[in-house]
Structures are given as C-alpha cells and as structure tokens.
Amino acid sequence: MVKRVGFVILLFLLATGWWLWERGGETAVSPTTTTSSFLPLLTDDGNASRFARATEPNAVQFPRDLGAHEDYQTEWWYYTGNLETADKRPFGFQFTIFRRALTAEATDTASDWRTNQVYLAHFTVSDGENGRFYERERFSRGAAGLAGAQAEPYRVWLEDWSVAETTAGEVRLQAKTEEVAVDLLLTQTLPPVLQGDGGLSQKGPEPGNASYYYSIVQQKVRGTVTLPEGVLEVTGVAWKDHEYSTNALPADAVGWDWFSLQFDNGAALMLVQIRRQDGSLTFVPDGIFVQPDGTTQLVTAGSWQLDVLDRWTSEASGATYPMGWRLQVRELGLDVEGRPLMPNQELTGTTIYWEGAVQFNGTLDGRPITAKGYIEMTGYAGSMIGRI
C-alpha cells in the first residue's frame, strides 16, 4: 500500500527533478552516472482529475491486472528480497519499475516513439558483509519497445532490466550495472494478497485517496548476485508489490514508513504509516498479516505500535532516519526488534529515500521468531532538496 504512493514520491520527483533540470545535467558524465534531468515529467500537471481513480473493492483480477494500467497516473512493480549465499553471506536487493502517465489521454500518432508513458527504474544491491550499497536509476519512455509492462505473458521491463514470467508461478528478474548484477528466479508459494478492502487500499480520508494494491509474498528465490569480485550463488525470499493509483495521498503528507516482514515460519506482515512535515501521522492505512497458509487479516491503525530505537544520519543527504525499531502488534501477539542489514541503504538519485534490507527478532505468541524484510522511509530528506 501506502508504501510508495503516488503523491509524495512524485512530489520529490518533481522538486529534485526540477532542480536537476535547472542544473542541467552538468554532472560529470561517466558510464556510471546517467542521471536524467527529465524528472519534472513526473509532476502532477494538474490534470489528475481526468485519470481513472481507485474506488472499487474487489476490482483487481488476475492475470489481467499484472500489466500496466495506463489510465491511472502512477503505477509500480516493486520487488525487494533478502538473499544469502550457502555460507550465509547476506545480501538485499530492490528492483522497482515505476510508470507515470504524463497526460490522461493517450497520444497515438504514426511514430512508435510517441507516448505519454514514462518509466523509471531503481535497482539496488546491499552487500551486508562489506557494507557496500549499489544503486542505480534509469529512465525511459514507455514506447518503441524500450520500456513497458504486459500481463500475458507477464513482463515488466526497462531496457535490459526486466522481470518476466518463465513458467506459471515463476519469474526471472534480471538487472545489471557495470559493477553489480542480479539474475534471480522467483517462485510463487502463496496466491497474491489483495491489500486493504479487496485490493482497494485507502491512503487518506478522501474517497479516491486510494490505490489498487496487491502483493505476492514469501516468494522463493534462487539465482546469482554478481559483484566486482565475482559471481555468487544465492537463495532467499522476495516480496512483490504492484500498485496503481491517481493522486492517492492526503494533501498534507510528506513521506511514509513502510514495513514488509517475511517470517521464518512462512507468515508475512505489511505495515505503513503516512507522516506530516512535523513527523506526526496524517493517516495510517490498513496493514495486513498473512498466515503461512495464505489466509490474511487486516492490521488496522491503533492496533500496532512502533518505537524507534536508534537513528542514523546520512552523509550524502544529511537526512536522519530511524535505524532500529521495536514493533508490537497486540492482536497478533507479535513483539519484535529490528536492525538494518547495514545503515547505508539510502538511494541518492533524483529522489532521496531509504529502502533497505532488515532483520527482526522477537516473539510471536510467545514463541521465538525471526523475520527478514525491507523497510522504506521517504520524506526524511525533504528539506535537503537541492543539495544532492
């Protein structure tokens, strides 16, 4: 859900992108930095009202809705996962493809290149042993075959970065940069989880401040991570979110904290909270708890409590992020404490946010339990806009 919803991230995209546009890509050009200065494209151009909006429960259908929904302004396919080698060397990865419609009406002219769809991808690898964080950002138009998303067969891609169905219930995720690459097979173990009310995930008090949102959790991963030092065989667990919306966030939101935990007993938990500028919460969308057998229950606002145990300040952005958590969910009997795989998992591209692998330990119903997962924290470097 809320994780990544449209408006705030796009607000950042707008602001930072605008600034980059102004600055004009005077950045030194090397094969490793291809920062685009075209992020202002991702701004709300004031015609959000002409896009479709998420309003109906039980609207999401498979496999139809695996692909792109170009009549919604914003969409993403979000993969995060915790990996380890045979000798327990830990890694995390994030692979996200965002889609943004520039206009509500599709422009269809003779050229294949003509489009109103813009794609953006973020790819990170966290090397826990060396404390190294690899991140890369890419842009493309959603045309001329360069980037796109399709339902059947399922495939989402931006140039040579892609997630594509290999057989039923299995996708292959490939992404590479000059330094790092992943080539992973993700096998589904549970049916897709419809978030919120039958896939309609409310992000604010207003009707339409919502997204269509489903997750595929506890996916088994095997494959390779390629580092400068060589190719490593890995296994692990991955989480997919797919969410599409138009202008979903409440107006006073500046950022959010999103938690995804995948427990060693096969259960999974998603929680999110949307913050105001002063740090207070403006809205807490419904979270969800997935039992090992796939049955789900909503975790509503007020039924869970989060305490920050530690903080970390980024040298790159100057932003200070929570970096240690105690999470209690009374109705589940859950009490866990979590730490990041490493503090430096901040993305410093056109949007600055923290998205990192974490490890939680504690008890569920009195029994010891551990969880791996990802936490996303946005809006902390808001004041840092213009200082990238």
Partner: protein, 850 residues
Amino acid sequence: MTNNTPLWRLTWRRLRQRPFQYILLIVGVAIGVAMMVSIDLANGSASRAFALSTDAVTGRTTHRIEGGPNGLDEAVYRRLRQQLGYQLAAPVVEGYVQAAALGPQPIRLVGIDPFAEPPFRNYFGSGDGNADGLTPFLTQPNAIVLAESLAEPAGLGLGDEVVVEINGRLHLTTIVGLLTPQDNSRRRALSNLIFADIATAQELFGQVGRLSHIDLIVPDPALLPAIQAILPAAARLETAASQQNAIQQMTAAFSLNLTALSLLALVVGMFLIYNTVTFSVVQRRPLFGVLRCLGVTRQQLFHLILAESLILGLVGAVLGVGLGIVLGQGTVRLITQTINDLYVVVNVQSVTIPPATLLKGLLIGVVAAAGAAVIPAWEAMRTTPQTTLRRSAAEGRIRELLPWLLLAWAVLTAVGVFLLWAQAGGLVASFAGLFAVLIAAALLTPPTTAVLMRWLAPLGDKLLGVLGRMAPREIGRSLSRTSVAIAALMTAVSVIVGVSIMIGSFRSTVIQWLEQTLQADIYVSPPGATATRDIGAIDPTIVAELSGWPGVVQTAVARPSEVFAPDLGRTVQLVAAAGDVSRGNRPYAWKPDGVENPWLELGEGVIISEALVLKEGLPIPPPPLTLQTAVGPQTFPVLAVIYDYANDRGTIFMDKAQYAALWQDEATSSLALFVAEGTDVDKLVQEMQGAINGRQALDIRSNQALRQTSLEVFDRTFAITSALRLLAVIVAFIGVLSALLSLQLEQTRELGILRATGMTLRQLWALTLLKTGLIGAVAGVLAMPVGYVLAWILIYVINVRSFGWTLQMQLQPGYFVQSLAVAVIAALLAGIYPAWRLGGMVIATAVREE
C-alpha cells in the same frame, strides 16, 4: 658603442618630406595582408560555424552508428539497449527544414529522445529551462524547442506556431520550450537548431521506424566489437570526429584555392614594397655615400634600411589586419553561400576572429616587407661610397644583372614545372609551382623590357618623332625602377587573364555539359536544402500522375543518396537513375570499345564520374567498386567514366531498380519529362504546377529554367574569385602609381632641364603619358602569354587536383584585349598625377638639386 639616433632622425625627416611614397608602401602591404586575413577569417568562420553546430549536435558523442541512405532501422537501437544493455547510446532523427518565420536559411531540426540525452548533450543546460514544456514536448505532435535567441528576433514565443517546410510539404509546429543559452558560443551553436522529440522528428521527416543515426559514448574501445556484433549489414560504426572533419575535408580544396588567390595579391604587394624600398634607397644614394664617408658602417646602413621597411611593414600589416576584419564580413557571406550551394548547410552568425589568423597576417606582412627590402638594403650596404655617389651606378648594376635574371627565370620556371608535374606534393605543391612560374615570369620582365625598348626606340622615332624615341629610351635607361613597376603590373594582369580564362572555360564547359546532359524538357524536384543536393522525395502519386500527363512521351527519374564505400573509406554520392535524361548524349571520359551508350547497360554495374577517378586516383579502366548496401557490402563493375560537374567529391550512377533492391529505397527525388514535339513547355509546366498545387511544393522547371538556375549557382561560386581578382588589380594599380611617382621625382631635374631648353607643357604631358602608356602596354603584352600559362596551369593542374574536373580551355580574345586595356589604363591613370605635378613645377626649382 655607436649611437644610431642621428640616422633615425634622418629617416624620420625623409618620411616627413616624402610621406606619399611611404603611404603607398603601407597601403600595398595593408591590401595584401587584408586579403589574406579576410579570406582566412571567412574560411575559418564558416568551418567554425559548422563545427559549433556540429558540436552542439554531437555533444560528448565519441562514436556514431550510421545507416544507409534511408537511415537506420530503429530496432538497432532497441537491440543496443535491450540485448546489449548499452546505456551510453542516443537515437537521433535529423534533417534540414525551412522555416520562413525564422529566416531564409535552412535550419537543422534534431529529433532526440530526452531520456537518452543527458550523457550526450545539455542544451537544456542552463538558465531557465522550461520544465512545463516537457510533457507537450513528448506527447504533443509537432512540438518543438528552440533557442530564445532564434525565436525572439522573429517575434516568436512560447506557444506560438511555426510553419516549417520539409520536402515540399508544410507542417505546423508549436514552440513548447525556449532555450536560453548563457554564453555566446552556445548561443551561436543553437542559432541554427530546432529540437523535437524523436517521435515528432520521425513523423515530420516521414521516417517512422527509422533513425538518422545513433550517437554513442564509447569510453573503452574494447566495447566496440560487442556493438559491432549486433549491427545489421547496412549499419556502420564511425568515430564522431570523422563527422566533424567533414566540412574541412569537403571544402579543403575550395579553401586552399581561395587562400592561394589571396597569396597572389600578396606577391603583387611584395613587388610594390620592393619597388618602394628600392626607390628610397636609390634616391638616398648620395646621402648614403656621404654617410659612408662620414664613417657610418655597412651594417648600420643595412640595419637602417631593413628596420625602416620592417616598421612600415608592421604599420601596413596592422592596418591590413584591421581592413581584413572589415572585408571579412563581406567575404564570409560569399564563401558561406558557396559552401551552402556546393557542400553543406552552414549558417555563419558572425565572423570569428582567431588570434592565430591575425598573427599570421601580421607576420606575413612584416616578413614580406623585410624580404622585399633585403635586396635594396644589401645593395646599399655593398656599394662603395664613391659608387654610391654616382647616379648611374644602379642602372649599370641592373644591366649587369640582366643575364642573371634570365638564368633565374629559367631555373625558377624549371622548379615550377617540376612542382606542377610531380603528383606527390598534392595541391600545395601545385600552387607552389604556379607561384614559381609566376615569379619567374616577373623576373624575366627586366630583360624583356630592355630588349623591347631597344626595338621600340627607332620605331617610336619614326612614328612620333623625338618624344617617341625618348619615351622608350627613358624606360630602358631607368630599368631598375620601371621594370619593377612593369613586373608588378604584369603579374597582376596575368593573374586576371589566367583566372578569367579559367572561369570562362569552366563556365563554357559547364554550359556545354548541361546542354548535353539535360535533354529532357521538364524537370521536377522538391526544393532542396542545398542547390546541388536534394535527398527529399517526390510523392509517388505525383510521379505517376506527371509521368502519364498527356504530351509526356518519355521519363527519366533519379534518386541521389550518400552511400559508404569501404575501399575509399568515405561516403560517396550515389545517383540511382532510370531512363536517360541525356538521351545518349552524355559525354564519356572513358567507355569500353564497342559500347555505344553504357548508360543503357547500367543494370549490371555502375558508371562513375571523372571527379571520383581523379580524386581517388583510380586507374582507367577503373576496378570494380565496393559499396555498403542494406544487405552488406556489394561489388559492382565500373561500366564507364562520365564527365560530371555537379559534385567535386565524385558521383556513382546506378540503375534505380538495382539500387531500390539493395538499399530498400524506392523513393524518387527528381523526375525528368520528355514531351512530344511541338508542345508548349511553359504552358505544360504551368498546368502541372496547377495540378499539384497544395499537395507538395515542387520545383517544376523547364529545361531553360533549370540551366539558368545551375548557372546562377556557378556564378555565385565564382563571385568571391572575381572579388579577389579586383583586389589584385587595385594592388597592382597602387604599385604602378608608386613606381611612376618615384620615377618622376627622380627625373625632376632632368625634366626641368628639358623644360628649360624649350619643351612645352604639352610635350611634357605627352612624354609622361607616352612613357606610362608604354609601361602599361609592355605589362599588358607580357601578361598575355603569362596569363595563358597560368590559365593552363589552373585548368589542367589545379582544377583537376582540387576538384577532379577536366575543363575544355576556351580562349576568348576578349580576355586579352581586356587585360591590355586594364594595364594601359591603369598605367595612364597612374601617370596623370606625376605629369600634373611636373607641369605645375617652377623650372628653376626643378633644376635645382634636392
């Protein structure tokens, strides 16, 4: 320690007394230098303007994937990004458009993918980039972005519509973004560019599915093989630098020719300096004799004279550089026009003034002045005081020198002939040879004049009496001065004769070629961005309609394109033709025995132009030629070599069906129609224009009109040459004026005595004008054979090596008559002032020594 101050004071006093002479020297140097500088500036500005706009488009590109005439399949880009994951690649679709609102010059429209751009170019780099424009830039058809400095003068702003004409069709575009370049060079670079999204560009140029090229940044050459591996047969990988050098390569011969012409002016200018310095030495002989007697050393004298002319040369050179900058504004227009007509589209916004050019101008001026002064200075230094005091010494010396001058002529001519004959030295050696022959001819002037005057004296006596005898004798007697004037005038006039013959021959050759080649009655083509190249296409329905027009009995179509020839390592113009526009009248430079019209057998091979043979040094018969086609390299036998004056880089002719199959390009760029006898062609042209009106803007021209247009381009090309010719005459005129003035001043006393002994004013005038007229006539007569030789060299050596064109030399008596007239009139005009001064002089003052 010696003090030279008194010597300098002497010089200064003389300068104050006789400023006119020195002014002439300065003017001579100045004009010579000015021509050099202006030509240099114009050449430099044109190539800099081209480089700037190329740089703006090239950006940080290191390599480029080029396709065939049709561009490149856009799938290549997809493969590059997706299969290879190559990130540093940017697709480009570009071409030239006319936008009447932005001025008459063609503007380059560059279609880009903004997402691929940041590593390559930062047009949107500075100032108020206009982010709101980006959504319409991508999503709105025909959205364009251009520099504010281009839009504002045209009264255009954000949201305004601009009509652009592409390939004869009008398109309405909308300005959705304005770029505000912060510095001047960026502003200049953007002054001839319009940007559009790649989708818009594909649609505007009718290139859907195709790219013009793909720009690459390849940081490591090791990456190249992988890129090469995914390219289709039609594509090739080039360095960006080869693109940027294109204009230099294309126009090298043209620029060199202009530079050589401007050097000619300087050579004439050097005579002038030599003349002036010699005279100032001759005049001061008594003074130098006295100085030597007083103990001034030879070195001191040498240095004095040399320093004098160095300073004057410097003053002249500085003035010349200034004048050159002013002239440059005009020459740049002429040169740019020619480059636009013949080579590539260049839009020169301003004349750029590189310090190197100015320095070069200064240096050449000063060195020329010093070089010309060395001989007189040496002479003054070598002469013993008592001979220096003797007036006849100089004349005696030059008479002794005459045999040596003859020898020098022979040696220098031999050197010149060798340089012209040797192929290895290329164009520069050829020009050096030309100069050697010319200077040798100038050296031959004194002996020739001496002989001529000896013959003329008795003749003049018979015809005109005593004055008729005096005039040639005086010229012969004062050979040390008159011969220099004659040589300068002769040089200038021979250049006029030579260049005139060359241009005249060129023109008549082109006219004849046009007549032979263009046999069809009506020609249809899209208005091209340049006069000699149009890659645009005619709407196929219009081709069909006009071909089937009542009264049309036969058609010929052609499609020019640029294709890559791996053996030559460059692109060559390829003209795909169906039907023979010349009806078998085409002039062949070579064809196999027994073949009547090789054109009809085109299906099997290619016909190439003579320019290609000469440019590439191909043997006759030429070997088969390999070309990069859409299906890989293909080799074609050469069936014949044809005379063709349309492209100095050479042209390959091929059957259109074969071309269409190999390059997958069916388009037609020009259509020639033969009509039934007795048809009113002009009426037919009007009817056709009426029929296609509003569908596509096409030039439909009668045979006559097309020839006219071709000749207009030709004449524009030589406009700059004519301008240079005129300047050479001015320099020569100044030379003659200063020489005659010197003579008059020297002979003041002598003429005073003549006047005192009864010569009337009328007779004085007659004598002076007779003398000057004779000088002019001798120069004019000598210029004729020299001019002929120059023309021969220009036509058969320089032109062939520069442009690969063989011209038929056409001698018209008019050129010779004209040159004689120019020489005599220039000389007579130059004689008026001295005659007038002498006439007004009090005899007593004249008779008194200085």
